[in-house]
Amino acid sequence: MTQFLQAIVSGILVGGVLGLVSMGLSLVFGVVRIVNFAHGELVMLAMYGTYLLYTAVRIPPPFSILIVAPLLFAFGVLLYRVLFEPVVLGSTELLPQLSLTVGISFALQTIAQWVFSPTQRSIQMSWTTTYYDVGEVFINQAQVIAFLVSLVVSLLLWLFLARTDLGRAMRAIVDDREVAQMMGINSRRIYAIAVGTSAALAAVGGNILMTYYPTFPHVGLQFLPLAFVAVVMGGMGNVLGAFLGGIIVGIVQQVTGVYVAFQLQNAGLLLVFIAVLLLRPSGLFGKEGSL
């Protein structure tokens, strides 16, 4: 029982951060209709940024979010204006956007390798190795902080989407882009902000991950498939669903890891993923026919 509780608790804690990263992926898919294969590399950039801020000027995570997130927001807007826009506005086809985002992903990985070398880098905070002992369940302090930050940022995103004009405009585009455009929503500007926001979410995720996970040039590839699974479980384009999807991914991973085999934790997850898709093609929290 303790073992089971332990698996659930770790799953939720790890899943929260993944959920945050997945929300960014889902936002871009919903608003811009791009499946961004370079999303993991945005997390990677944020992790290196956090690492540099800590080692060079001693600004620790999660406080360095205030620097890393705006930087990645700007990077996201730039990415949209320079590379995404010519492809997205030209056609709605899947093929060019696949080569585009995979190309960006490869390029960022190699550049990171040139700048930072392939060596793994990590930072040691006092709380990286501190554990709370709650009735025989061990809880890592870094993971708790990471989860709380994820929760707060997700709530902020929800408020943004629900309560601000910009957020409403984004949701309008997700629901029906043509009508939204007819109502005078400037989609180019909204797209740029959506990609920027998505990159900022990846930045927050990468920043807090850095407290308990090492970074390396290909680290994004570890998160990308998991984030896809979370996004699809939540219903593609359903931004809050993606957060819950992330938590489910975390739990399934941990439970499979404990009860089946550690190496098979992702296999268990991916099987659950295919099962969910076949039984509920629009995701666990997706609206029927939302796509």
């Binding site: 499946v35 056609s91 086809e93 080569s99 390029a107 098979l264 992702n266 295919i274 796509l291």
Partner: protein, 333 residues
């Protein structure tokens, strides 16, 4: 068979390629690039059948490549079966896996299908890595070295491998050409362009897609066996890995998915460009090949969304625009 332009150009290209080992691919390094490029031409042609012509975008063809490579290699190592037979077994295994995956997931819409195929290859990779008693796990499998043994699909020099993959690629090209103008091919294209309309006209969409998918999986698996025999070594990442799946799809997409020449051009262009970059900067910068590769990907996505095959059309359109700019404005009539 009518001798049209495609066939004539194809024959000329095959003759040129066949002469390469005599004058261009004289070092083993160059030979390796040639064989890899042709391998990706064959894989891209196989992918193109279902994903380009049929529009069912697969991002998991590494699954079939790996099933081909592992089936024939395990049959060889465990039971001593020659890979010439093993490759047929691999093709059957791949087709069965493709049918099992395709039957439930063809109901899914575009993006979801793409993700299911992507994930299916990842699952096989994980299983292959962790079931090490049977598959050899992460360290991979070495195929026993026999040097010159044509009956066991093994040769002492790379040249025979070059000709084998050239033959495979040419056959896949002919198959694609036939498919593009056969009833089956028209059905697939109709499903890609408008599934509802095609179904209303009586196309059985599920069966057509399954048949196309199984065919594509089998052709991919045959190349998997070839590659295992050429390298005499396989491991989970280099067969089932996500890069393999993505590279197969991209070779075809960059060339021009759904066309006859796209996969050929994509494979012949992408692989050597990347490798040449590496040779230029060898020792100073690692990964130049990857950056060049990604630059090509990004540029084609932006300027030639329908692939390199649309380059002549792109130039024609641009030239016409230039002429229109230069020409004096026509008086309104």
């Amino acid at each position: 068979m009518k001798w049209d332009r495609d066939l004539k150009t194809g024959l000329a290209l095959v003759l040129v390629l066949a002469s390469l080992p005599w004058w261009a691919l004289t070092t083993s390094y160059a030979m390796g690039i040639g064989i890899t490029a042709l391998t990706f031409v064959a894989l891209a042609l196989a992918w193109n059948l279902i994903s380009g012509i049929g529009g069912q975008l697969s991002l998991g063809h590494g699954a079939y490549f790996g099933l081909g490579a592992y089936t024939s290699s395990l049959l060889l190592i465990r039971l001593g079966v020659t890979p010439w037979i093993g490759m047929l077994a691999g093709a059957i295994v791949a087709a069965i896996f493709g049918l099992c995956l395709g039957y439930p997931s063809f109901r899914l819409k575009g993006v979801y299908f793409k993700l299911v195929t992507f994930v299916s290859a990842l699952i096989l990779e994980i299983i292959c890595r962790s079931w090490s008693d049977f598959t050899g796990g992460d360290p991979g499998l070495e195929i026993p070295l026999l040097r010159h043994a044509p009956a066991m699909y093994q040769f002492a020099s790379p040249v025979p491998y070059f000709y084998i993959i050239l033959v495979i690629g040419s056959l896949y090209f002919l198959l694609t050409r036939w498919l593009l103008r056969s009833r089956f091919g028209y059905y697939l294209q109709a499903l890609r362009d408008d599934q509802v309309a095609a179904e209303v006209l009586g196309v059985n969409s599920l069966w057509m897609k399954l048949a196309g998918f199984a065919l594509s999986a089998m052709l991919t698996a045959l190349v998997g066996t070839f590659y295992a025999q050429y390298l005499l070594f396989i491991d989970p990442v280099s067969t089932f890995g996500m890069f393999v799946s993505v590279k197969i799809a991209l070779s075809s997409i960059v060339g021009g998915a759904g066309t006859l020449w796209g996969p050929v051009i994509g494979g012949l262009f992408l692989i050597p460009v990347a490798e040449l970059g590496n040779a230029q900067f060898a020792g100073t910068l690692t990964g130049v090949d990857v950056v060049l590769y990604s630059v090509v990907l990004i540029l084609t996505a932006i300027f030639l969304p329908r692939g390199l095959v649309s380059l002549p059309e792109f130039i024609r359109v641009k030239r016409r625009e230039m002429e229109r700019m230069k020409a004096p404005p026509q008086p309104a009539s």
